[in-house]
């Protein structure tokens, strides 16, 4: 089977600092794939290059055979790629409900409807998504006033509202309590399996990585130094040296 997401010879640098160095990468449909690497390894940049937030200096990104380079984020979302962000990226003054509702409105292309009341649309769909991520009780609260962990869950609900086939999660459990982390891993795994999604995620917490990922790629100084199933990566000498060795107690 050919790759769902194919990345070839991708380069990106910022004022001389190379953040992505000759990255080639294939992601098959249905795969649960983790990108790991120390802080500053270029994980977020890698996501930004895929989703159109940044334009690569060189290289190709294609999704289901379509070239993504040069497309703005809003067009890439429409092709079926949604993402969450490492740093909270919600609508702080909208209610939790509206945060998700507006994503459903956009998914259905109703943002150009000047007449139908926005609040009356997709109430059922919004409720379902909030239940799915465990935020049903907080629907009426203001997004920006939720706890950090819950804002992360809201991020996930917003991303799912775009009905993606490929879901990109940038450190979905960063800043969460151990209990929230456990719940989030379980719910992400369930959702991805139930909806038949392909998952690409970055993560710091090794327990999370080995709890979800079927395949792992290790990013170091902008380069992929190893890629494979969890056992292969865990036992890779290079990986142990640059990364796992540093905080091996997590692994």
């Amino acid at each position: 089977m050919s790759a769902m997401l194919r990345i070839e010879d991708l380069w990106k640098s910022f004022a001389g600092f190379v953040a992505t160095r000759d990255v080639s990468f294939d992601l098959k449909a249905g795969e649960l794939h983790a990108i790991i690497g120390p802080n500053g390894a270029g994980k977020t940049t890698f996501f930004n290059l895929i989703t159109g937030h940044l334009r690569p200096d060189k290289g190709a990104v294609s999704f289901e055979g379509r070239d993504l380079v040069g497309l703005p984020p809003h067009k890439i979302v429409r092709l079926g790629i949604a993402r969450s962000f490492q740093r909270i990226n919600i609508y702080p003054r909208l209610s939790v409900f509206e945060n998700v509702q507006v994503a459903l409105i956009a998914h259905e292309g109703q943002q150009w409807n000047l007449f139908r009341p926005g609040r009356s649309l997709h109430r059922e769909g919004t409720r379902e998504l909030l239940e799915l991520v465990g935020l049903a009780a907080e629907a009426a609260e203001t997004g920006g006033e939720l706890s950090y962990g819950k804002q992360k869950q809201l991020e996930l609900a917003i991303a799912l509202a775009s009905q993606p086939r490929l879901l990109l999660l940038d450190e979905p459990t960063a800043g969460m309590s151990p209990q929230e982390t456990g719940e989030t891993i379980a719910s992400v795994r369930d959702i991805v399996k139930a909806r038949g999604l392909t998952l690409l995620f970055t993560e710091h917490d090794m327990a999370v990585v080995f709890g979800i990922a079927e395949r792992i790629s290790v990013l170091h100084h902008g380069e992929i130094i190893a890629s494979g199933d969890p056992d292969t990566v865990r036992n890779d000498a290079e990986v142990r040296r640059v990364y796992l060795g540093e905080d091996g107690d997590h692994g």
């Binding site: 979302v77 609508y91 702080p92």
Partner: protein, 313 residues
């Protein structure tokens, strides 16, 4: 549905206003007419500021275009009101669409400066195109249709136009479109990542704001029987901006109170002292220091309610 409560409240307000000519003096009727026009002007600007999060320093341009176009079509070309008014409104909207096309490429202060630059260009046209606009003498002696030439008739005409305009803006601001604009205001990057073309949406908001600003301007010109280049000047843009801020940008109704409060305050202050700009400065200080959410925010705080500082009233 909260809509029902709003509808009843608005109907009562409009009805009470309609009774004004029975009791009010000519002075009260004229003053209320002016306030109504500024209410529509402020509401139109808040589509951009409060709902989309784009601060325009040049909204007077569309007010002036609506005003001059309606005046010129009625007077110079002898068009009937039923044609001249819609044509003026459409023209204001079209110019806003052209200007907006360039402005939405920028954000924040650069966006604001570009709106100001275009507004000064409009002012320059009004100033220099003497044969058509009357230049710095202004365009005076607007030919008014018989029906609305009396001040009571004009008051009712304005009341109907402003009510319809405000209702239309209410529907737009609370539509799927309006909710998406609020999402753009709150986090335009995120809005892009749910599939919203934020540039196009901001462009549409700009055109909507200009269209209704044009309607306010047309009403203003006919009320004064003339348009003057001051109406296109940046101070007029600043004035309506202060109205919006004073009322509160995060609520649909805020600018209504801001426009009424500021215009009445200005009128009364001018009766006692020539120092209106000083008073205006003090008002601005108060807004910035203690009323960041405007009068509406103050009311909400006094009531001890939470959550009213959102994108809706």
């Amino acid at each position: 549905m909260p809509q029902r409560r709003h509808l009843v409240a608005s109907a009562i307000v409009v009805l009470l206003l309609a009774l004004l000519p029975l009791a009010g003096s000519r002075y009260a009727i004229d003053l209320t007419t002016e306030v109504l026009i500024y209410v529509l002007f402020a509401l139109s600007l808040n589509v951009l500021i409060g709902f989309t999060g784009n601060i325009s320093f040049g909204h007077a341009a569309y007010f002036a275009i609506g005003g001059y176009a309606c005046a010129i079509l009625l007077t110079t070309h002898g068009w009937p009101l039923a044609l001249a008014l819609p044509a003026a409104v459409v023209l204001a909207g079209l110019v806003a669409a052209v200007v907006g096309y360039f402005c939405v490429r920028l954000t924040q202060i650069y966006f604001a400066m570009l709106t100001l630059a275009f507004a000064m260009l409009v002012w320059g046209v009004a100033f220099k195109w003497k044969a058509v606009t009357g230049g710095d003498d202004g365009f005076t002696g607007i030919k008014m249709p018989e029906m609305i030439s009396h001040h009571v008739g004009y008051f009712y005409f304005t009341l109907v136009m402003v009510s319809v305009g405000a209702a239309a803006l209410w529907v737009i601001c609370h539509s799927a479109f309006g909710l998406t604009l609020v999402a753009i205001r709150e986090n335009s990057v995120r809005a892009g990542f749910i599939g919203v073309d934020t540039k196009h949406m901001r462009w549409a908001a700009f055109a909507v704001a200009g269209t209704f600003g044009g309607l306010a301007g047309a009403l203003f010109g006919m009320y004064h029987r003339g348009m003057y280049i001051e109406n296109a000047f940046w101070t007029e843009s600043a004035n309506v901006l202060i109205m919006v801020l004073l009322g509160g940008i995060y609520s649909f109704v805020g600018p209504i109170f801001g426009a009424a409060a500021l215009h009445l305050l200005q009128t009364f202050t001018n009766q006692y002292t020539p120092y209106w700009p000083t008073v205006l400065g003090l008002i601005l200080l108060v807004i910035v220091l203690v009323l960041p959410d405007g009068l509406i925010g103050l009311v909400a705080r006094l009531k001890g309610r939470r959550g009213t500082h959102k994108g809706r009233s």
